[in-house]
C-alpha cells in the first residue's frame, strides 16, 4: 500500500470527480463522501492507487464521485471484485462501498468470506436500515415491526447487526461511526484505511426520504451523549450528558450500565476499553448493546493483526518460484511424461 506523499500536496477537492453528485438533498451520503475525501487527503494517498468498488444501491454510486479508479459492480458482490483485484494488485488501496441491503442481504456470503480471509481491503457499510434506491422496502437491518411499502403490517424478521456479522467472521478491524459526526467519521475512516487486513466500518447513515430519523437518538445533540458511548483504547467506558455513566461487567459476565457515585461505583470499577484483545468476546459484547436498552458504542471495537490473505497467496507463489525456478513456457508444456516420435518411425 503506497502511502508516500506526492510532490504537490493533494487537497480534499482533488479527490472529487467532475460528476454531479445525485443523492437526494439532505442524504447522509454527502457527509460520508466529504469525510472520505478528507481522510484520503490527510493520508495523501495518490489518487491513481486508490480504487473504490461498490455494489448496487444509493451508497454504491459513491465511486462515480471520486477522482480515483472505481467500479460500480453488481448487487452484493463488491467484496468478491475487491478480493480479485487486491490479490493481483497489492500496490492498490481498495475500498468497498456497500449498504445494509447490498452487504447483508444479497451479498452476505461475499461479505463474510472477504472478512474471514482477511483480504487487505477496507469495507464501509452505509447503514440506513432501509432500501432507498428501490423506494422504501425494509432491509435486513430494519427493526422488527418496521412498516414499509412491502411490510404494511410491520416486518416480522429479526434484523442482522453488521458488527456482529463482522466479528463473527473474525474481522481484525471493526469500527462504527455516524454520518454527521464529521470529525469522528474522518478519523475512523483514516484508521480503517491504515489497518492492514480487512477493516470493517459500519456508518449510521440517515435516509431522509424513506427512513428519516432512524438514527435521531444518535445524532440529536440534546440526547446523543446519553445514547452513544465513544470507544477509546485504554480508556474507561464512560458516557452520558454529565459523563457520569459507565459500563462494567457484572458477575453474570454481562455488561451493565452504572452511574459513578451511586451504589459505591467509582471510575476504577468501569470497564477499560481494549481494542487489541486477541479474544473478540468483549468486542462482541459491546457490539451487542442496542439502543434503547444500552448506549451504542462508536469508535474502534477491535483492532488486531491477522494473517493477510492476499499477502499469503503471493508468498506461496514466491516460494514456489524460489523452489522451482526457471518456469518458462517450454518447461510448462513439457512437464510430466513425454515421448519422442522420430521421423524414421
Amino acid at each position: 500500500m503506497a502511502l508516500a506523499p506526492q510532490d504537490s500536496k493533494l487537497t480534499v477537492k482533488d479527490y472529487g470527480s467532475s460528476q454531479d453528485v445525485r443523492w437526494c438533498p439532505g442524504c447522509g451520503d454527502y457527509s460520508i463522501l466529504a469525510q472520505m475525501k478528507k481522510a484520503l487527503a490527510n493520508m495523501q494517498l495518490p489518487k491513481e492507487n486508490v480504487v473504490f468498488i461498490s455494489g448496487i444501491g444509493c451508497s454504491s454510486r459513491f465511486p462515480y464521485y471520486m477522482d480515483t479508479y472505481g467500479m460500480h459492480s453488481i448487487h452484493g458482490r463488491a467484496p468478491a471484485f475487491a478480493t480479485g483485484l487486491k490479490t493481483v494488485r497489492p500496490d492498490l488501496h481498495v475500498f468497498v462501498i456497500t449498504g445494509d441491503g447490498d452487504a447483508l442481504s444479497i451479498g452476505g456470503n461475499h461479505l463474510i468470506h472477504a472478512i474471514r480471509r482477511n483480504v487487505n481491503i477496507t469495507i464501509l457499510l452505509f447503514n440506513n436500515r432501509i432500501y432507498g434506491l428501490t423506494k422504501g422496502q425494509y432491509s435486513p437491518t430494519s427493526e422488527c415491526g418496521k412498516k414499509t411499502k412491502s411490510t404494511p403490517f410491520g416486518s416480522v424478521d429479526n434484523p442482522l447487526h453488521p458488527l456482529l456479522v463482522a466479528l463473527g467472521s473474525e474481522a481484525g478491524f471493526v469500527a462504527r461511526s455516524v454520518d454527521v459526526h464529521t470529525k469522528h467519521l474522518a478519523e475512523t475512516l483514516e484508521a480503517a484505511a491504515r489497518h492492514q487486513g480487512t477493516s470493517f466500518v459500519e456508518i449510521y447513515q440517515n435516509c431522509n426520504i424513506f427512513n428519516d430519523g432512524a438514527w435521531e437518538w444518535a445524532t440529536d445533540r440534546k440526547i446523543k451523549s446519553d445514547n452513544l458511548i465513544e470507544l477509546e483504547h485504554g480508556q474507561p467506558l464512560r458516557f452520558g450528558s454529565n459523563n457520569d455513566k459507565g459500563l462494567r461487567v457484572n458477575s453474570n459476565l454481562e455488561l451493565e450500565v452504572v452511574t459513578i457515585g451511586e451504589n459505591g461505583v467509582s471510575e476504577s470499577d468501569l470497564l477499560v476499553h481494549n481494542s487489541q484483545r486477541k479474544d473478540p468476546a468483549l468486542a462482541y459484547m459491546l457490539a451487542n448493546m442496542h439502543h434503547p436498552e444500552f448506549p451504542e458504542p462508536v469508535g474502534i471495537f477491535r483492532q488486531v493483526q491477522r494473517p493477510i490473505y492476499d499477502d499469503d497467496v503471493r508468498e506461496q507463489v514466491r516460494k514456489a518460484r524460489e523452489a522451482r525456478p526457471g518456469g518458462d513456457l517450454k518447461s510448462l508444456l513439457h512437464a510430466g511424461e513425454t515421448w519422442t516420435v522420430s521421423a524414421s518411425n
Binding site: 479508479y69 478480493t83 483485484l85 518460484r321 518411425n345
Partner: protein, 623 residues
C-alpha cells in the same frame, strides 16, 4: 478387432496376432481403481506409439454401495496403429471385476469378444446385488463370447503374500494384477507403469512392492496360464514426428490459458468454485504456482467470476471455470463484463442438465445459455474445442480474442473432452501465436482520459489502476460513448447496444474461415461443433469411402460464426447437424441462414456412436 496376420513366436503358447487396433473397457466398482487402470493402459499405449481415444465413465457418487449397478465405474480406451477419432462404438475386450460390471457393460461387447472376469466375485451375494437370478458364468448366457474366468482375488493375494499387508490392503492391489494381464494380452510396455507405481508409492515400500509384484504376476499369468490362444500386437501408428504427451481436455485448457499468460505477459488469475467436471482445472492450475499462476477458490460461483473481473480490471489474464449450473449463476456478472468491456475467459465444461442433471456425464446443451442467457442485449464471443488437445488451441484463442477485443469469452468444453485423453504433439513455443495486449498508459484526450474511446476493432483501452492520470470509473450502468460517464440518453443507449454487437460481430474478421473436409459441395454437409468431432469425422470418412457425397465442417467458433459459414452451407443440398442436445446450433443456423437444416439429437449423457451418425447420414441422403 480386424486380424491382419498371425506371427508364431518362440514359445508354444505365445502366438501373437497382429491387429490394427482394439477397444478395451475396464469395469468394476467405483473406487476399485478402474480409472487408474484406464489411465495407465492409455499412457502405456501412447508411449508404445499408438493413437488413442479414451472414455472414462464414472458415477456421480464417490463410493456407491459396492457391487451394485449404480456403483459401476468404467474406462474405455480405443488404441490403434491408424489415426482414430473416437473411443470406439463397441468393445473388443471387457474386463469385468464383478457381476454388476458385467451386467452394465456386456451389451457393448462385440459378439466373439474377449471377456475377462473375476470368478471369485460371482458369489450368491454378488449375483443378487447385480440382479442376476442365475450365474451367467454357468448358465450359458455368455456362449457368444470368449470367456476367461480367473480367480483374481486369490491370485492377487498369493502374489503379495509375505509382504505383511493386511487383507484389505492386499486386495486393493488386485487392479494391478488385472492390468498386468491386460498388458500381456495387448503386448503393452510395462515400464511406464512400473515407474508410475514406484513414484506413486515412494516412501511406502511395502505397497510399492506389492503393486509391482501383482502387476508382474498378472503379466506372467497371461504368459503361462494357457488360457489365451494368442496375444495381440498393435503396430505403432504413423504419426507426425515430435515430442508428445498424453493429454485430457481439462489439462489442455490449463496449458492453454497458462501459455496465453506467458505469451501475453499477463499474470494468470484463475478463480473457480469446485464443480464436476471442471474441478480438475482448478487443481491443475493451483499446482502451477512456480509458473506464477494464481488461483482463488471462491465462496461460490458468483464470487469466482466477480473476483476474475476484479483481477481483469487490475490487469491480469482472468479466467473462471465451471459447468452448466455454475454458468447460470455467473451470468449477471458476465453481463457486467460485457458492459465494462473487460477481458475475461469463462470455461464451461458442459454436463447433463437441466439443474444438477447428470454431473459426470457429457452433453452440449449450454450453447443457447452461453449465447443468450443474460439480461439485455449482451453478446460475447464463444469458442468450442473439438478434441481434448484442441482445448489447448481454443483456450489460447479465447485468451487472444478476450485481450484483443476487451470482451468476455466463453469456452464450451464438455465432460467427454474434459476427461477423454489422446496423444498431443507438444507445439514449439515459437509456433504459438503472439498475444499483444498493451495497457493504455497515457491520457487519450485533451482533457484527460476517455475510457470508452475505440480502436479500429472497436475495443476500448485497458487502463489499469495505478496508472497516474487515467483514473476512471466503470460499472454496470449504461455509459456514454467515449467519455464513459453514466448516461441515460435513449439515443446513446441505442448506439452503445449496437456498438457492443458490432464489436463482437467484428471478431469474425479475426478468426479463420470454416474449412470443409471432403468435397467443397455435394449432397450433404454434416455440420458439428465441440466434442462430437471424433464421431462425426469417423462417420463421414466411412460414408465417403462408401461413395457417398458427404462432406463435413466443424465449428470451433460459435459466436461470431466464421464469415464464410453461410456460403459453405449454400453449396450443399442438405445440412445435417448432430448435437448432444435438442437442436441448439440448428436453431441458430436456421435463424441466421434460413436453411432447413436437419438434426441428429441425443441426450443420453454419452457421446455419439459412429454408427448413429452413419445412420443419420444415410437417412438424410435418402429423404
Amino acid at each position: 478387432m480386424s486380424s491382419m496376420e498371425t506371427v508364431d513366436t518362440a514359445g508354444p503358447q505365445r502366438k501373437v496376432e497382429v491387429i490394427e487396433g482394439a477397444t478395451v473397457r475396464f469395469a468394476g466398482d467405483s473406487g476399485d481403481g478402474m480409472q487408474v487402470m484406464g489411465a495407465q493402459f492409455s499412457t502405456s499405449s501412447v508411449i508404445h506409439g499408438n493413437d488413442i481415444a479414451t472414455l472414462p465413465d464414472f458415477p456421480a457418487e464417490i463410493r456407491a454401495p459396492a457391487g451394485t449397478l449404480a456403483g459401476v465405474s468404467g474406462f474405455q480406451i480405443n488404441f490403434s496403429s491408424q489415426e482414430i477419432y473416437t473411443p470406439g462404438d463397441g468393445i473388443d475386450t471387457l474386463f469385468a471385476m464383478n457381476p454388476a460390471a458385467l451386467k452394465v457393460n456386456l451389451a457393448d461387447l462385440y459378439e466373439g469378444g474377449l471377456l475377462v472376469v473375476n470368478s471369485e466375485a460371482f458369489t450368491d451375494d454378488g449375483l443378487e446385488k447385480a440382479g442376476y437370478k442365475t450365474n451367467p458364468l454357468e448358465d450359458g448366457s455368455l456362449n457368444n463370447y470368449r470367456v476367461v474366468s480367473i480367480p483374481l482375488t486369490r491370485l492377487n493375494r498369493d502374489a503379495v503374500e509375505g509382504l505383511g499387508l493386511d487383507r484389505k490392503a492386499a486386495d486393493r492391489c488386485k487392479n494391478f494384477y488385472t492390468l498386468g494381464l491386460a498388458y500381456w494380452i495387448y503386448n503393452r510396455p510395462i515400464e511406464p507403469t512400473v515407474k508410475w507405481i514406484e513414484k506413486k508409492f515412494a516412501g511406502k515400500s511395502d505397497l510399492m512392492e506389492a503393486n509391482l509384484r501383482t502387476f508382474r504376476a498378472g503379466w506372467n499369468y497371461g504368459e503361462t496360464a494357457e488360457l489365451f490362444t494368442s496375444a495381440y500386437h498393435v503396430e505403432k501408428a504413423d504419426i507426425q514426428p515430435g515430442v508428445y504427451r498424453k493429454i485430457t481436455g481439462n489439462s489442455a485448457l490449463v496449458l492453454g490459458v497458462a501459455a496465453a499468460s506467458k505469451l501475453s505477459g499477463k499474470d494468470l488469475f484463475y478463480a473457480s468454485y469446485p464443480i464436476t467436471p471442471a474441478s480438475d482445472i482448478l487443481h491443475e492450475v493451483s499446482a502451477l504456482k512456480n509458473h506464477g499462476m494464481m488461483t482463488f477458490q471462491a465462496e461460490d460461483e458468483i464470487a469466482a467470476i466477480c473476483a476474475a473481473l476484479g483481477a481483469a480490471f487490475g490487469g491480469s489474464l482472468a479466467v473462471t471455470g465451471t459447468s452448466g449450473p455454475g454458468l447460470a449463476l455467473k451470468m449477471e456478472a458476465i453481463g457486467l463484463g460485457i458492459m465494462t468491456e473487460l477481458p475475461v475467459i469463462i470455461i464451461n465444461v458442459q454436463r447433463g442438465g437441466p439443474s444438477t442433471g447428470l454431473p459426470t456425464k457429457t452433453e452440449q446443451a449450454d450453447l443457447l445459455q452461453a449465447w443468450g442467457g443474460r439480461n439485455g442485449e449482451s453478446p460475447l464471443a464463444i469458442v468450442a474445442p473439438a478434441t481434448p488437445s484442441d482445448c489447448f488451441t481454443m483456450a489460447l484463442e479465447a485468451c487472444r480474442i478476450a485481450l484483443k477485443f476487451m470482451t468476455p469469452v466463453i469456452i464450451l468444453s464438455d465432460g467427454y473432452l474434459a476427461n477423454g485423453a489422446e496423444p498431443w504433439r507438444i507445439p514449439e513455443v515459437d509456433d504459438l501465436p503472439a498475444i499483444d495486449a498493451p495497457f493504455c498508459t497515457k491520457p487519450n484526450a485533451e482533457d484527460g482520459f476517455n475510457p470508452y474511446t475505440r480502436d479500429e476493432r472497436l475495443a476500448r483501452p485497458w487502463a489499469v489502476p495505478g496508472t497516474p492520470g487515467l483514473q476512471h470509473r466503470i460499472g454496470g450502468l449504461e455509459k456514454q460513448h467515449i467519455t464513459g460517464n453514466v448516461s441515460y440518453d435513449p439515443k446513446n443507449h441505442d448506439f452503445m447496444v449496437k456498438l457492443r454487437q458490432d464489436k463482437i460481430d467484428g471478431i469474425a474478421n479475426d478468426i479463420p474461415p470454416l474449412k470443409v473436409f471432403g468435397d467443397e459441395s455435394g449432397d450433404l454437409l454434416v455440420l458439428g461443433w465441440g466434442g462430437t468431432y471424433g464421431s462425426i469425422t469417423t462417420a463421414v470418412e466411412r460414408a465417403r469411402k462408401a461413395g457417398k457425397k458427404v462432406s463435413q465442417a466443424h465449428l470451433r467458433y460459435l459466436n461470431p460464426f466464421p464469415k464464410n459459414l453461410g456460403e459453405v452451407l449454400s453449396r450443399f443440398k442438405k445440412v445435417l447437424i448432430p448435437e448432444l442436445n435438442l437442436g441448439q446450433l440448428r436453431t441458430l443456423i436456421r435463424a441466421k441462414y434460413l436453411i432447413d437444416a436437419k438434426g441428429l439429437n441425443k441426450v443420453q449423457g454419452r457421446p455419439f456412436q459412429v454408427a448413429e451418425v452413419l445412420e443419420a447420414i444415410d437417412k438424410a441422403l435418402e429423404d
